[in-house]
Symmetry: C2
Subunit: 325 residues, 2 copies
């Protein structure tokens, strides 16, 4: 009898999921705008139909696919790396921003602003081969824990967005990440976590150099910026990597504004969507005045132009996969 009941429940769940691929989304304007857009562009024989090859959807990562508080996860990675590398750098004991960091004073270390952050990034992201860096990221992602939830960082992804990615792909879309974060910080895990292969990940990068070491070719990561994939850099990155204009774009901050503008300016049906972090209890609530993921100008433009704004508190049944019962 119990077994029958379990089977019946499992069956019900399967049917419900088949019936609603966006199960973690509450019914409302946001969900409706997504479903209507997908129905429109996939319906053959209409003027709105978009061939599958042109169904390009771009997603910001920090704050759009995974969380970004109390600071960008890549910065937390860099701070962990400073600690791990400190024994090889005795000079860091007296050299800022490293000295403050090693004393546990993160706020003091970051008070140097962007130059301090750049120093931390270069000290932890460069001067190794690409294979070595790949392993460092994999090891960190497999073990490091978020300070508040104590979860792996790759568990702090948004369940409704995972459903949205799968829903778009099931409808012939090709899904890309277009993030201000480092491309080589994301590629080692995006395929497993989001179903997005490395070649569909666009991000910021440092330069690399091809070398033969004892006859073996390596790519060495240089402490020199190659490309910043943020703000006006996002359409540039999209054009450089994808070479065609997306028909759907998903972001959460002013860093995504130009990507949404670029997407909106194409012909035919378009979907521009912003996540508004409104749930202080289940996630975080922040927008116009936040240092991380500031959403100000883009929110005004979304309202003025009728883009979709997701109110995370009210539009999402579940935030993180680990909340699901």
């Amino acid at each position: 009898m119990a077994a029958v009941l379990v089977c019946a429940l499992a069956f019900t769940t399967t049917v419900a999921q088949a019936a609603d691929p966006l199960l973690s989304w509450n019914d409302g304007k946001a969900k409706q705008s997504i479903v209507e857009f997908v129905a429109k562009v996939t319906k053959e024989g209409t003027p709105y139909y978009v061939p599958a090859a042109e169904r390009i959807a771009v997603f910001d990562n920090d704050g759009t696919l995974w969380a970004e508080q109390p600071m960008y996860f890549q910065l937390l990675f860099a701070l962990d790396r400073v600690k791990a590398l400190a024994p090889q750098h005795p000079e860091w004991k007296t050299q800022e921003p490293f000295a403050s960091l090693l004393k546990g004073d993160v706020k003091g270390a970051l008070s140097g602003g962007e130059p301090a952050i750049a120093q931390i990034i270069m000290a932890t992201h460069a001067r190794m081969t690409t294979d070595e860096f790949d392993k460092i990221v994999r090891d960190w992602v497999a073990t490091a824990r978020h300070p508040r939830t104590k979860r792996l960082y790759t568990e702090m992804v948004y369940q409704p967005m995972l459903e949205l990615l799968a829903y778009l792909r099931a409808n012939g879309f090709k899904t890309f990440i277009v993030s201000g974060g480092g491309v080589e910080f994301m590629r080692p895990w995006t395929e497993k976590v989001y179903g997005i292969p490395p070649e569909q990940v666009i991000g910021s990068s440092i330069k690399t150099k091809f070398e033969l070491r004892d006859g073996k070719p390596v790519l060495v990561r240089l402490p020199e910026i190659n490309f910043i994939d943020d703000k006006a850099g996002k359409p540039v990155g999209i054009h450089q990597y994808i070479g065609r204009r997306p028909i759907a774009a998903f972001g959460n901050s002013d860093g995504d504004l130009q990507m949404l503008q670029w997407t909106a300016a194409g012909a035919g049906p378009r979907l521009m969507l912003l996540l508004h972090h409104t749930d202080a209890e289940r996630e975080w609530a922040y927008d116009r005045k936040s240092h991380v993921g500031r959403l100000d100008k883009a929110l005004d433009e979304a309202q003025a132009k009728g883009w979709t704004v997701v109110d995370m508190k009210n539009d999402w049944k579940t935030i993180f996969p680990f909340e699901k019962r």
Copy 2:
């Protein structure tokens, strides 16, 4: 009766093609190395099996997928553009390399070497929007004719390589172009001609800048090099765009050597292949001393390491699709 015969012939052709996807390749070592490699990596349950997601194949373009004589086709495009733009540039009448070019003295114009070529490229490829450049390329490709064959340039692609691209894709490979040519010169036509979508085309590029013009976003092409995807730049480009190492690489010149080295250095089965242009009658014959597509060091390394070398005269039944009867 005639209709029956036509049907029968059509049926025979279909069956023959189904039996041999590399119909334009003569039986021999080159064809055998391709077929054996594909059989090996696609056979599940063996140590050589490669999951489909990792079946990345990279192809040079000039001299590998289409011809490159008497000079790179993109240079012929640039020369045509100089003529088209001359009325807007009266100063070119006295300014080299433009003055020589406009008098029909191509050799004289190009005698200035790389700086002269760079001047011609920037004068013809920059200072318009990406949409405008896309249209310029499409118009040229649809109308310009090769000086010797009088064919459209997109007809001067290699039939055996078209079959190879299709064969690899039918076996789960993802095919990429990795060319020293300009990425925006290739993307407008590679999907139609090779079945390779824009997001799988990697090439050299100039910088672009995002701007709002009367509220409408555009990307403006700047006269400034962004990336040179040649020689040691090819592994850099592969890593930057694809983020994983190919298992098969196809080239024809010393510009492809590092791409083949990078491919060869991965674990598991690998296929490195060089086309050797040996057919002066049906195509062109050139190698160690050619200014275009020089094949010298890479030929030595291929021979030393046992990479596949295609002798185009003897290995290919057909060179161009228009020769097929």
